[in-house]
């Protein structure tokens, strides 16, 4: 009896192994069923709206279905995809900057930015250094001048997350400007917190994203000083970039899509092409730029990964200091 059972189990195990192998091979008919896209945030947020806009215009044989799994600032949903079957039927909407932050900040055991396959980046958002109307600063030079004139005093600078890429970049910029010792860096738990801090004059400087402050810039409550980017951005062409001020910090807050490691190449190419078609569609570009305040910026998986590796290596030593 025991022997038969053992044989049966062995058979079962090997059958399971073979089916496992079977799904490894590229499926020429992909997709045969709807593709799940995990959005690691609550419905109604920027990432959620972006993915749903893509879903609407996406041309695939099967629909893309959005599934929101929030928690841990996007980490829980990312791991859900990390653990998912690598058949292309589960993909992740995420941003490399947060995934890098999880890894370097020691929050995730695996470097998810590397362990997940990068499908494509679809839009870009940018960190913006800004001040409020109580400060009288109009340019970043005004801030530097103020610190020279008031050597004993400190400026409070609101940033979301103490061990995030936002914080590392903010500190790199402060160092490059030579005002690091004049700043108290105050971490908040998200963009709503930093915005409130700046509006209420709890902090005089804020690192936030271009997409979040459009309305506040228009009302004059938020005065942008500098954008973290290699070049000036389309939505605020008068705003100087870090690179033109001689500060070599250019981490862009891309938003894009990932797949579990080991997803067949053909399937990934299929998804990348489908995404590319949407991302370069003029109606979509118009929507993300005017309504969501992002910059449309399609970057293919391989090119994006190369850039992400570069940013990660730049950031790594700064995270050592943050710990």
């Amino acid at each position: 009896m025991k022997k038969i059972l053992a044989i049966l189990l062995t058979l079962l195990v090997s059958a399971a192994l073979f089916t496992g192998c079977g799904s490894k091979g590229a499926d020429p008919n992909f997709p045969e069923k709807p593709v799940q896209c995990i959005i690691p945030y609550a419905p109604g947020g920027g990432s959620d709206v972006l993915t749903r806009a893509i879903m609407k215009d996406l041309k695939m044989a099967q629909p893309l279905v959005a599934v929101n799994i929030e928690g841990g600032s996007g980490l829980v949903g990312a791991y859900q995809v990390f653990d998912a079957k690598a058949d292309g039927y589960t993909i992740l909407a995420h941003n490399p900057v947060d995934l890098i932050g999880f890894d370097l900040g020691g929050l995730s055991d695996e470097p998810l930015w590397d362990e997940l396959e990068t499908l494509a980046m679809v839009v870009a958002d940018y960190n913006v250094i800004s001040t409020n109307k109580f400060s009288d600063w109009k340019t970043i030079e005004d801030v530097v001048a103020w610190t020279k004139a008031n050597p004993g005093q400190k400026i409070k600078w609101a940033v979301s997350g103490a061990r995030s890429v936002n914080m590392a970049d903010t500190q790199r910029i402060a160092q490059a400007l030579g005002i690091f010792d004049n700043i108290t860096f105050v971490p908040y738990d998200g963009g709503a917190g930093t915005r409130k801090a700046l509006l209420g004059d709890e902090a005089r400087l804020e690192t936030t994203t271009a997409s979040e402050i459009k309305a506040l810039v228009a009302s004059g409550d938020n005065i942008p000083l500098l954008v973290v980017s290699g070049e000036r951005i389309k939505s605020q062409p008068d705003l100087p970039s870090t690179l033109e001020k001689g500060i070599d910090v250019t981490t862009v807050k891309w938003r894009g899509y990932y797949a579990p490691k080991g997803t067949p190449r053909a399937v990934m190419d299929y998804l990348e092409n489908a995404l590319k078609e949407v991302a370069t569609n003029p109606a979509f570009v118009d929507f993300v730029e005017n309504n969501l305040n992002f910059t449309a910026n399609f970057v293919g998986g391989a090119a994006a990964k190369q850039q992400i590796v570069k940013w990660t290596e730049e950031l790594r030593p700064f995270f050592e200091d943050l710990k």
């Binding site: 109604g44 928690g71 997350g161 103490a162 409130k196 459009k214 305040n293």
Partner: protein, 497 residues
């Protein structure tokens, strides 16, 4: 004022907006009334559908669900002692005893009326002093917010339980549970035991439904064989039973005021608001001994405050574009899809939309009142359903609702585990409400404390530079040491004598 007129205009020129709102309220009441399916879930499920609507339609339906859902929770809370939505936990305490004593219709009518009162109060605040209130909210610094939340924690730890040790123990357990997961300020994992499913923390809805719905079912199942109290419904009038509502004006006032103010502050929400309003009402009531035994004041405090929070949370949204909770965050998403930029300028550039939000919120409360009274005859039939059929259905909906909120089976595991833990804790008479309060306020207290301390470079004494914080701290001390002070005075007097 102009915005409000524009809002009414939008509503009259686009009747579909009104229809969407009415549908939203109905949908919300159903979701609110079924334990496990919460108001938040109703909003989250509806969001994707709003993407294809106009801005006014989408906002109308979401606001409708919000209002209906938060109020609808009182139905099962009153009739079977199981909160339909977590914000009605407190309504159980007086609603159910009152229903059991042969006045289910009156208890429901009082609850529904209190919802209307709270909602209307905050709507009036939204209409008249929203910009001023949002300035107040901006003025409060991290130390102030810390002290406000800390005060809430102290008040309840000292007052919810007859036994202060058990009250404190409950709060402590709540604080610990609130610590689980990723700390978003400092970016570290805490109490996850290397288990990455826990990095998101414990889901509030799962925790509350396990402690107050499933645990309650386990308690009631023990007595399943004994006969249920016979509840009969008399005629339902449009007016609430005013003669039952002696002394309730104060309760409604406290509930509405607390709710509106708490709504403006981010993160505290309906659940903590009802507990705080209930305690405050009890403290100033002329007959505190009747609380927990079917006192209409208790129902009024709870139901007026949870609905007032809705209006309060809309204030920072329409004035600053900053979300106060998940639902208002979703509303911001809805605005952006339509190409509107939520922020201080929204009032001037899109006064029609701001006006629509305010008017729809105001009218949704009235629709909710009429609809719930109208549905009362059908609703009350719940008490005729056999508990052996009703309870499994409730459990099923809890599992479904908790899963659907975050699409994860793990959350269902939390629900099951904490039902058992809650049952055991309840047997030891640990105060479950203090657990919830610790769970909600603990993380806020900690967050503001950390940010404040970092911002002041570690100077703890800087808290005394903030007047609101100092006053709140003083009040907290009084609440914490009140029993000791009373004892001391008594001791002193007896000695003298």
């Amino acid at each position: 004022m102009e915005a409000i007129i524009l809002g009414f205009q939008t509503l009259f020129s686009h009747p579909s907006v009104g229809l969407f709102m009415v549908f939203g309220v109905f949908f919300g009441i159903i979701f609110g009334a079924i334990p496990g399916l919460t108001a938040t879930l109703g909003v989250m499920l509806m969001i994707p559908f709003t993407f294809t609507m106009t801005a006014a339609q989408g906002l109308a339906i979401l606001v409708g669900i919000y209002v209906g859902g938060i109020s609808g929770g009182l139905i099962t809370a009153t009739l079977i002692n199981i909160p339909g939505t977590p914000s009605s936990i407190v309504t159980c305490w007086d609603g159910y005893p009152m229903a059991k004593s042969g006045k289910p219709g009156e208890a429901l009518a009082i609850g529904v009326f209190a919802s209307l009162a709270g909602g209307t109060f905050s709507a009036v605040a939204l209409f008249t002093i929203a910009p001023q209130l949002s300035k107040v909210a901006l003025m409060l610094g991290n130390w102030d917010l810390f002290a406000v939340c800390f005060m809430g924690l102290c008040i309840v730890a000292a007052m919810t339980s007859t036994d202060i040790i058990k009250g404190l123990l409950g709060t402590l357990i709540g604080l610990l549970l609130g610590t689980v997961g990723m700390d978003l300020v400092l970016g570290v994992n805490r109490l996850t035991f290397g288990f990455r499913q826990l990095q998101g923390g414990l889901q509030a809805t799962a925790l509350m439904m396990s402690l107050f719905a499933i645990r309650e079912i386990m308690d009631q199942v023990v007595h399943l064989s004994s006969t249920r109290p016979k509840m009969t419904l008399k005629k339902i009038s449009f007016w609430p039973p005013f003669k039952e509502m002696r002394g309730c004006l104060k309760a409604l006032g406290i509930g509405s005021l607390f709710g509106t103010l708490i709504g403006i502050l981010p993160g505290i929400g309906q659940n903590a608001s009802t507990i705080l309003a209930y305690n405050q009402t009890k403290a100033v009531s002329k007959r505190p001994e009747f609380f927990g035994k079917g006192n209409p004041e208790g129902i009024c405090a709870s139901e007026s405050s949870n609905n007032a929070v809705n209006g309060g949370a809309l204030i920072p949204l329409v004035t600053l574009g900053i979300p106060g909770d998940m639902v208002t965050a979703a509303l911001i998403g809805g605005l952006m899809i339509q190409g509107l930029q939520p922020g201080p300028l929204l009032f001037t550039t899109n006064a029609d939309i701001v006006g629509t939000i305010m008017v729809v919120y105001f009218l949704a409360n009235i629709v909710m009142y009429i609809m719930e009274l109208g549905l009362m005859k059908a609703i009350i039939k719940i008490i005729e359903v056999k508990l052996s059929l009703l309870f499994p259905a409730v459990i099923l909906f809890c599992v479904l609702g908790v899963f659907a909120l975050n699409n994860r089976v793990f959350e269902v595991g939390i629900l099951i585990a904490f039902s058992v833990i809650g049952y055991i804790l309840n047997q030891f008479e640990i105060d479950l409400v203090s657990i919830i309060l610790g769970f909600i306020l603990g993380p806020l207290v900690e967050k503001y404390f950390k940010i404040a301390l970092i911002s002041e470079e570690g100077r703890l004494s800087s808290i005394f530079e903030y007047p609101v914080a100092t006053i709140c701290l003083a009040i907290s001390c009084v609440f914490l040491f009140f029993p000791l002070i009373v004892k001391g005075i008594k001791h002193f007097r007896t000695k003298k004598a």
